[in-house]
Symmetry: D2
Subunit: 353 residues, 4 copies
Amino acid sequence: MSSASGERPIGVAVVGAGYWGPNLVRNFQSSAAFRLRWLCDLDISRARRVLGEYSTVAATADLTEVLADPDVDAIAIATPAGTHLKVALEALRAGKHVLVEKPLAATFAEGAQLVEEADRRGLTLMCDHTYCYTPAVLRIRDLVRSGELGELHYLDSVRINLGLVQRDIDVIWDLAPHDLSIIDHVLPEGVRPVAVAAHGADGVGAGRACVAYLTLQLNTGAIAHIHVNWLSPIKVRTTIIGGSKRTLVWDDLNPTTRLAMYDRGVDVSAPEELGADERRDIMVSYRSGDMIAPALVEREALRTMVEEFGTAIRTGSPALTDGRSGLRVLAILEAASKSLAAGGEMVTLEVVK
Amino acid sequence: MSSASGERPIGVAVVGAGYWGPNLVRNFQSSAAFRLRWLCDLDISRARRVLGEYSTVAATADLTEVLADPDVDAIAIATPAGTHLKVALEALRAGKHVLVEKPLAATFAEGAQLVEEADRRGLTLMCDHTYCYTPAVLRIRDLVRSGELGELHYLDSVRINLGLVQRDIDVIWDLAPHDLSIIDHVLPEGVRPVAVAAHGADGVGAGRACVAYLTLQLNTGAIAHIHVNWLSPIKVRTTIIGGSKRTLVWDDLNPTTRLAMYDRGVDVSAPEELGADERRDIMVSYRSGDMIAPALVEREALRTMVEEFGTAIRTGSPALTDGRSGLRVLAILEAASKSLAAGGEMVTLEVVK
Amino acid sequence: MSSASGERPIGVAVVGAGYWGPNLVRNFQSSAAFRLRWLCDLDISRARRVLGEYSTVAATADLTEVLADPDVDAIAIATPAGTHLKVALEALRAGKHVLVEKPLAATFAEGAQLVEEADRRGLTLMCDHTYCYTPAVLRIRDLVRSGELGELHYLDSVRINLGLVQRDIDVIWDLAPHDLSIIDHVLPEGVRPVAVAAHGADGVGAGRACVAYLTLQLNTGAIAHIHVNWLSPIKVRTTIIGGSKRTLVWDDLNPTTRLAMYDRGVDVSAPEELGADERRDIMVSYRSGDMIAPALVEREALRTMVEEFGTAIRTGSPALTDGRSGLRVLAILEAASKSLAAGGEMVTLEVVK
Amino acid sequence: MSSASGERPIGVAVVGAGYWGPNLVRNFQSSAAFRLRWLCDLDISRARRVLGEYSTVAATADLTEVLADPDVDAIAIATPAGTHLKVALEALRAGKHVLVEKPLAATFAEGAQLVEEADRRGLTLMCDHTYCYTPAVLRIRDLVRSGELGELHYLDSVRINLGLVQRDIDVIWDLAPHDLSIIDHVLPEGVRPVAVAAHGADGVGAGRACVAYLTLQLNTGAIAHIHVNWLSPIKVRTTIIGGSKRTLVWDDLNPTTRLAMYDRGVDVSAPEELGADERRDIMVSYRSGDMIAPALVEREALRTMVEEFGTAIRTGSPALTDGRSGLRVLAILEAASKSLAAGGEMVTLEVVK
């Protein structure tokens, strides 16, 4: 394979022209760091349709041809999760850097195999946890990790909407990777989930959970809770992060006030000793400070993600959402499935080294 | 005790002039069915403050005096939960009908004792589950029980806000009675919770849960989930009820569209076989029908509740939220506390006959 | 009349037991500064109904009796606007301080007569512009007058909802007094409206405007615009105040973020010289600063208004919303009616000395 | 020029690679009805940047070359308004069909010249009033024109946001074409604006109105009002259309309830004869019916617009937003400018035949 260092753009191929592939195609095309060489899909007509009639990018159904191309330095995989191991392993073995759509793989064991392979070969393995690259989440990460919120007490994430009921995976595997990767991304050093409980309901006879709730125990005693739902007629994407000093509310559907940071001081009182007026006064004292909505730049997360992939390849240092972060997410997903099957019992997580 | 039948208004006394008592005072005063005789509070100056300087209602600190008054047919209790058993029992034994602020009592056993006592004496025992008397919840009850939604699949209730951290009870006992009584109220005949799991976090060193999540298993396989939270800087009061035919969204903070009913038909497809356009089309097909927001009258729930109390007394038939409904809520609260202490395990509920 | 100085509460009577009177009754009753003596209404049964069956306040249909009572120091008038002149004048001539529901009178000339009479007798004349006493408007007044927003450029106020179509007045006279009194209240020293144009539509064959728009020219070149509407199925109460340094948004229906203050720096560029990306960057630069939502206490405006009335009476200094502010509002209402009749021409305002 | 009939895609060139051009490029590329031949911009490097490094479309700075290409049947113009006349005229004279970004031209006279030229040559002239092709506006058009709302009483449109202060045009010419073209599009046969008044404020020393209000008189006595604003920190895009039977609210920023249709029956009463309760009851009677939010498909408006352009070319019948609709919008814009300069006087509109 050719060197990825120097000024030459990194040659890249996208594998998978389904739902997500076209977004990768568009963003690799608009990045100066990359040169898109191929779009590969088992169904070549689908690949051609995605490229359209005006593109100079080559379509192919043959992954071998792509991997044999010395101008291809990196592979971006947007195929179903069940195929990630096979495709990514082939790519790594061909000496290519690899970006994988979430989840990293179909199982924790498969994900671990990918991490190991990339480690051994000194190649970049990155998971496309797109949300981690939104301006909002990058800012949340700063605020949480810099101690602005104080000690983290709870995190509540709701991601509900009408969604496609999928044939092969349940709503936890479909949607929760977003929340789990965000949590993994923003938690301060030394704070991490240690166990998870999951409850769910089918709801439409789909044979798998369409509505689910995850409760994560953190090693600090804090909890994180996630509500994912394919059946909600209303769309909600709101995360509340409660800290000892401030509480952060991220409402991703409110473009004017996507992030809001609230001061708060809580008083522990005996309500029965208070009249209605006093009671109200005390409740008001919670909100003595102002609310601040930090300004955020508008920038497409995928664009930032693609640049991070480029930087990781060029510098050799792990991406913000490297294979190990993908593996930590897999650990929770697997434990959640186990908990769901066991009626909601708390399941301890595998530790990722 | 004097007869409550005929045209004479029902004589009533309110016990407790704290947070909730003044609301009862105001509503009994404006109801033609009742004649408010006393406001009783251990702190008589608090009772006088509530009545103000222009009232002809008598204030007292002496419950015995109230119970001895033959013009008092009924007692409305708005004291801390720990005192409900004693006050209500005394009132029942004095032959008075009893209305109790939620929760019915401090424990399931105490609540059962009250139900039994009222039964034996043929007196009305009612729990002031105020939310059940809002125009929205009354309408939801109709819609759910008439089968408009089809079979119930899931119910998700969020009740979060900055709230007073209480000295004696946790957030579950403070806020969840609202959600639990609503669920008890709207579930169709034959559908009922059978077990509950609870997870929570303290968050401010209060020594009790300030953020909590309840998951109820229903006997039909459906689930109900409740999020109650004293520490949220934003106020949310939204309940989603997903059925096989329609889904109902109740957003109590949206006066224009408090209730919204969505048609939905869900398709179980294989996403990897679809292009982006087809995938979007299918997701759109979920929302093929229109959304309808039923018109609701504006009417104070407490006013309707007070009238229901009057009707129950006059007719001798159980109130919509009678002692047994209060007891069913207590069964869940107690099981939730047990689950919380046991790290979230699913706890089977006591059955109320 | 008896002296209003010293520690004795100010004796007050409310005249008018219709829509607004009960609110005055309730607030005078809960104020330590006042002693409510009478509720007077031509329909004595209506007055009795408002007082309820538990009140010690006297009801009467006879204003003369009220004005003859030496224990009555002040009169609060909540009758139709057409009667304000007569009732208020009688009260002033009987030596009583006067509070008048908005608008101050039915015409500018009548309002001026009241101001003059109160001046001559050294009595307090106050207009109940309730909104001016909300915590939000009091804070807006501070922010605008302290220069936080910089020079005022525009003010846009929307007050729309389903409202009762009234028999005697149009939507401008019904709703715009709120906006006009708020504008009068918050404008800095030396800044004032000088002319108004009004456009309207009937909409339901009511014989008067049910939807109307007012445009005020200020002496500084700034403009203020008001949209009032009885026919809107959605309720909006939002005011935007644009200044050279900051812009303030007051959304009275958003309890979490009632006030929001935005920094802004505007760039005057030539868009045709810019590409899409640059154009977006520039637009983003408008919002370089954070948004701040100042914390507000929750306090009933009428309670503050009643206290202001008490203070004005005790100190002899003009209330925040004294007769002259009521007169300035009348000047605009009259000019707006003239403009409306003349097809929207700009009409110069009477100057209030 | 070559024939546009038959199965061959229509050859098209986009002129202007600034803010809007790239959207046209993308949509012509994805339409089977068109074959994009050229992207033309005086700054050829800008055209190349828009096409990117993977495109087979030709870039050029030479309009003559484009117009000389026999494979080009149609020209889409996305250059500044001041150049529309020259470019469109050249294109028409070269026998090309023409699509022009809004506004159709810089003046009414210039727009009329284009309409005349296209008429004489039997060519399609279409104005890209994109909003008219959104699913929401197409649905509104159906609802209004089918009589679902009854007789139209008022229309209120708010389009405010932080926007780029432009060097050559004011906020009316920048934003109001959207609202004016929508109004032109949805008004029933025989209903049309006859006069306009405009008020505005500069706000940032830009030398032109940055905040403006238009009031349109319709020939039926109804009014339409438009608020456009470059300086608002909050984004609002809401239109209310009040009819004698129903009122429609279009909130373009609310994806869940973009359209809401309210029943309403209005009562004309005498409020002073009513108590608070009766008054409330009457107000409630306005909202006796339910609200219905019609389901809308999600479809990019530009895609529909491009197809309409194709259909108009193939069939020879006028597009929904043909040159004349562009001209009617220009008539209002010019009259609004005249009104603004004259202090808001009502200016009669030119009639477009």
